[in-house]
């Protein structure tokens, strides 16, 4: 006897992280399966099948990324990991931190998409997404394991600290600050300044440190710099928004972190500096002075001296320096429900779809029509999120929503080149799509995709259907 929907196929997921200091790749295999406890489709039993060794992100003299050199690394990763771009189900590539500030960061993202094909979503300058990914990669499991505790993960890399607060596996707030190891670079083995980025120089100025490139910083000056950065991290942990309103801390803010009041969050660390912190806390010791030519080791040491920041070191997140790439590989894509309303005239995948509106299930015709008008003006279609789980549990609600969508579509028909994608949290896609198209009598360029958790994103990508389900990725979380 036949059953509705199929699942269980093993798929390949990939992630590429091009960061301020290092770049790396990861590949995993996972089975799409129904979690009988939660009733949701998910990637079950992911197995990481490839982890590249991190390489220093190659920069050219002007601060741009050396795309040619990175391309060679990427080809090597594909070969080492046995990754066939055609076989990739979903994945992401992200250009982060200082690398994303290079003039050609977007060109790198485009190159990755061209090389790896439609299953990959590549972004540059999406700091809140980075924070979200780092949290999921580092603390997703830990957070679900301790659902009663709010956890603030600080992913400290070369250029930025990507902070995300989460609880029970869900990110609640995300921010990004230019607190990193590589705003000041040194000749390895000492503190002779080799390079001072704009924000690094501002910190030196604020602290009254007059050293320039070629000068050696005194130990007290190094301590002052790391002390200032640690103070900024403590302000993040305690939700001191006022700290970041004053100069020069204001210069450090990329995306402000707005912590909800009343949560005494445990602090965890990921990223390169995070890895050093936990290694040292476990007794491994820190590498020699400025072994990486930056402030990372000193920053880790200073964090280890902070009572506030080390209060929760017993909570050890996963994947350390690879948190972002792990988040990209394993958490950047959601799997839809198994019963969808798709449209033969609209081939998948659909890329870069703006999410034009978030409406309740009982949104009236005027609001639906207004959102539809926005979709009609997009380049290649757009999404409307139907917010609130449970709003489509009753047949009357489904019928009413489907009817209003049908009415709106009839009043302002969409072009197949600009399809409408309805994103539902409830499992009701086929029913809503049925009413919206009068059960096939009024065909429209409409896709209804369900069981998709709500994300504060601006864009979505809908992948090719596999086993009756589609992968969907979100970006633009700022």
């Amino acid at each position: 006897m036949a059953h509705a929907g199929t699942a269980g196929e093993e798929v390949m997921l990939v992630g590429f992280d091009f960061g301020s200091t290092t770049s790396s790749a990861m590949a995993a295999r996972a089975r799409i399966a129904l979690n009988c406890a939660t009733g949701r489709q998910e990637f079950a039993r992911p197995r990481v099948v490839y982890r590249s060794a991190p390489v220093f992100t190659p920069f050219r003299a002007g601060g741009d990324i050396d795309i040619g050199a990175l391309e060679l690394h990427m080809e090597r990763w594909l070969a080492e990991g046995g990754i066939d771009p055609e076989a990739i189900f979903s994945g992401g590539a992200i250009v982060t931190g200082l690398a994303s500030e290079g003039a050609n960061a977007q060109a790198l993202a485009s190159l990755v998409e061209a090389r790896l094909g439609a299953a990959i979503i590549a972004t540059a300058r999406d700091p809140a997404l980075e924070s979200w990914l780092a949290f999921m990669g580092a603390c997703g499991g830990l957070s679900r394991a301790c659902p009663e505790r709010a956890i603030l993960n600080l992913d400290i890399g070369g250029g930025t600290t990507n902070a995300a607060l989460g609880q029970a596996g869900e990110v609640i707030a995300a921010g990004c600050h230019f607190i990193g190891a590589r705003h000041l670079r040194f000749e390895p083995g000492g503190y002779r300044l080799a390079f001072a980025a704009r924000r690094g120089q501002a910190v030196l100025d604020h602290l009254g440190i007059t050293a320039g490139v070629g000068d050696a910083l005194a130990p007290a000056e190094v301590a002052a710099v790391t002390g200032f950065l640690v103070r900024a991290l403590e302000a993040l942990a305690d939700g001191e928004a006022a700290f970041f309103r004053a100069e020069p801390a204001a210069l450090l803010v990329d995306v402000p972190l707005a912590l909800p009041p009343g949560r005494d969050a445990a602090v965890t660390f990921s990223g390169g500096v995070g890895e050093l912190i936990y290694a040292a806390a476990a007794g491994a010791g820190l590498p020699p002075t400025t072994a990486f030519g930056d402030l990372g080791i000193d920053l880790a040491r200073a964090i280890l001296a902070s009572a506030r920041l080390t209060r929760d070191l017993s909570l050890v997140p996963e994947h350390g320096g690879r948190a972002t790439v792990c988040g990209l590989t394993l958490h950047s894509t959601e799997v839809s429900g198994a019963t969808l309303h798709l449209c033969d005239a609209v081939p998948l995948p659909l890329r870069d779809l703006p999410i034009v509106a978030s409406l309740p299930a009982d949104a009236d015709l005027a609001r639906l029509s207004a959102a539809l008008a926005l979709v009609a003006r997009t380049r290649a279609g757009g999404c409307i999120r139907v917010s609130g789980a449970g709003g489509l549990a009753r047949s009357a609600a489904v019928k009413a929503l489907g009817g209003r969508v049908a009415e709106a579509l009839a009043a302002a028909p969409l072009d197949v080149a600009r399809p409408l994608v309805l994103l539902l949290a409830d499992n009701a896609a086929k029913a809503v799509g049925g009413y919206a198209t009068d059960f096939g009598r009024a065909p429209a360029p409409l896709l209804v995709i369900d069981e998709i958790p709500e994300r504060p994103a601006q864009f979505a990508r809908i992948g090719k259907a596999r086993g009756g389900m589609v992968p969907i990725s979100f970006y633009g979380l700022n």
Binding site: N35, C36, A37, S395
Partner: protein, 728 residues
Amino acid sequence: MRPLTPLSEIEVPAPRPDETYAVTLLDRRFSFTGLKALLGAADHPKAGDRLAGLAARDEVEREAARTLLASLTLQHLFDRPLTDADGRVDAVMRVNYQIDAAAFAEIAPLTLGALKDLLLKARPAQVRRLGLGLTGVMAAALAKLMDVHELVLVAKKAKRAAAARTRVGAPGTLSSRLQPNHPTDDLSCVTALVYAGLSMGAGDALIGLNPAVDTLDNVTAILTHLDRLRRETGAPTQICVLSHIKTQLAALEAGAPVEIMFQSLAGTERTLTQEFDVTVALLDAACAAMAAKGPLGPGCQFMYFETGQGSELTYGKHEGIDMATCEALCYGLARRYDPFMVNNVTGFIGPETHRDNFEMIVSNLQDHFMGKLMGLPMGMAPCYTLHSEITMEGQQVATGLLAAAGANFFMDVYLSTDRMLAYFDTSGHDDQTLREIHGLTPAPEFLAWALARGIFAEEEGEVVRGPNWGDPRLFCASQMEFERLARTVPGAHGFESAGPRPADKVSRAVKANLAIAREAIHADLDPARLGGMAFRRIASRAHDRAAHLSHPDIGADLDAADLAHLSPEDRDVQIVVSDGLSAEAVHHNVPDLVPVLMDGLERSGVSLGVPALVPFGRVKVAEPIGDALRAKLVVTLIGERPGGDARASRSMSAYLAFRIADEETRARAAAFSGNPAVRYEYSVISNIYDGGLPPVEAASVIVEKALQILAHKAAGNRLERLLAARAA
């Protein structure tokens, strides 16, 4: 192991015509024609035997039959093999005559009554020796003469051990068979359940899983996973995936770790071959393959059988033999293969075989007694489904008595609720509780391992629960890993314990879920809770709940008077709503499902009859309705048998029964199915409830499937094959 005796070399007396056995008790004269009738009437009253017309009409008739049975000699029974419907000795009966001739010669002249007295007086060694001289029929006849104390006492003397990696059934031990089932074979959930079981000292007899999908790939993957868990935890035990024996043989051939070969047995050849797709020759071949290629090596036993009273009856292939005797015939067949374990699951089927606690308890005691006496290493799984009247407390009474009788092992089903098979068995908590009550320990090899891990400890020469007992985190690298695994366990009400029992808050959650699920079965179908829709009411032949639950066949037929009122309407689709085994499932799903279903079908140009409401119906009630109304397709929305999860107890299924109305379609369907008489083909959409496929969405899925069926004039696997071919 010793070579198997060819069937042709097992001597069986020629069948004889039935004789009449008669006796007078006070002023009532009783007579029984044939041994089958006598055996049936002599047993305790049970639903299955009543259904088969074999049970005594009253207690006096039962005692009359017992009086007669007690007067028959063993030789009398030996000389009258029971035959099948064609009057022939079937293969299962033939195997039962493979007995210890010397032992039989010793007791052949004794009456059954005298043998019973002898067994009650005899030392254990003598009981074990004489038992090998018995056929299944003889053991069953003895069981019918024994009361509860006697069944317990003699079984205790007949305790039999068997060995693979662990030695199971030795005196002073009580082992456990861990069953980490999951509805979709989610290996993370399997891992969580294995860890939970091992941490409670369960699993020393076996870690065995019933697969959701019986394919070579899936079975091999699960075996590989269980093997990895066994190696990583270091637990000295053995693993098994309880798939069909043919799948296991293929897996063994492919090099998978088939350590123990499993098969369900039946006491009649027709059930064994036609329903279980197994022959004695196939069992012989499997045993030989394991002896040659099994990974456990020489000196280990490796066959594992499951049995339980009533399977032959429910398939209508019991050959006029009562349930207990059929069960004993299974043991005669199992004995041929010197198995490592036999597990009895009497109570699994439902109220059509065992209605209440008494019937289940007494059958379990009989089964344990018969199996042990005949030489088998019997483990017991007294179990129940929610549509019977058997309760957890009744099951616990059974386990207490069976532990006293020396059962080799019980099951460990986490918190007693099987997440795949929707039935209720013993748990790891139960196993440990019984160990503590009866002063028993796990198998010695496993105990040494568990002591080293703090699962158990020794205090003043006694084995007690250790500091890690009941803590599955023991096997996890981190709390995070444990939580990740635990999230995949349906119905995970908690891992906390109070002594050997679940903590009260866990027990409360389990019992509340059971209560809600049971209520779903016993709730009446209430038309007022169906969303105000207009139904035509049609009665099945089951006019009340008791008849509906105990006679599954009559719910598939229509009441004659109602059937007479139906005439051809020639619609495309007829919707039928029936409570089946859960009226609550219907109440919670139909109001949102049917309006969308009707909208979708009507807007798609499908003609519909007025929906029908059939209280106390079964799935196949679609057929008389489809025949009478001449509908092309009958969509039956019916409540499923509730399991132990409160929300899932509201689960409904949609069975789409396509009526084959023309010869061309029939020829295609017959060619596909191999059944020239095929009349209907079925597609099913299951798991309809708010935690699975919600009713509104299910309606749209049903619409889509119905349109496919009507367009292709096919349903079920034939339709899926056509759709796949078209997609390719």
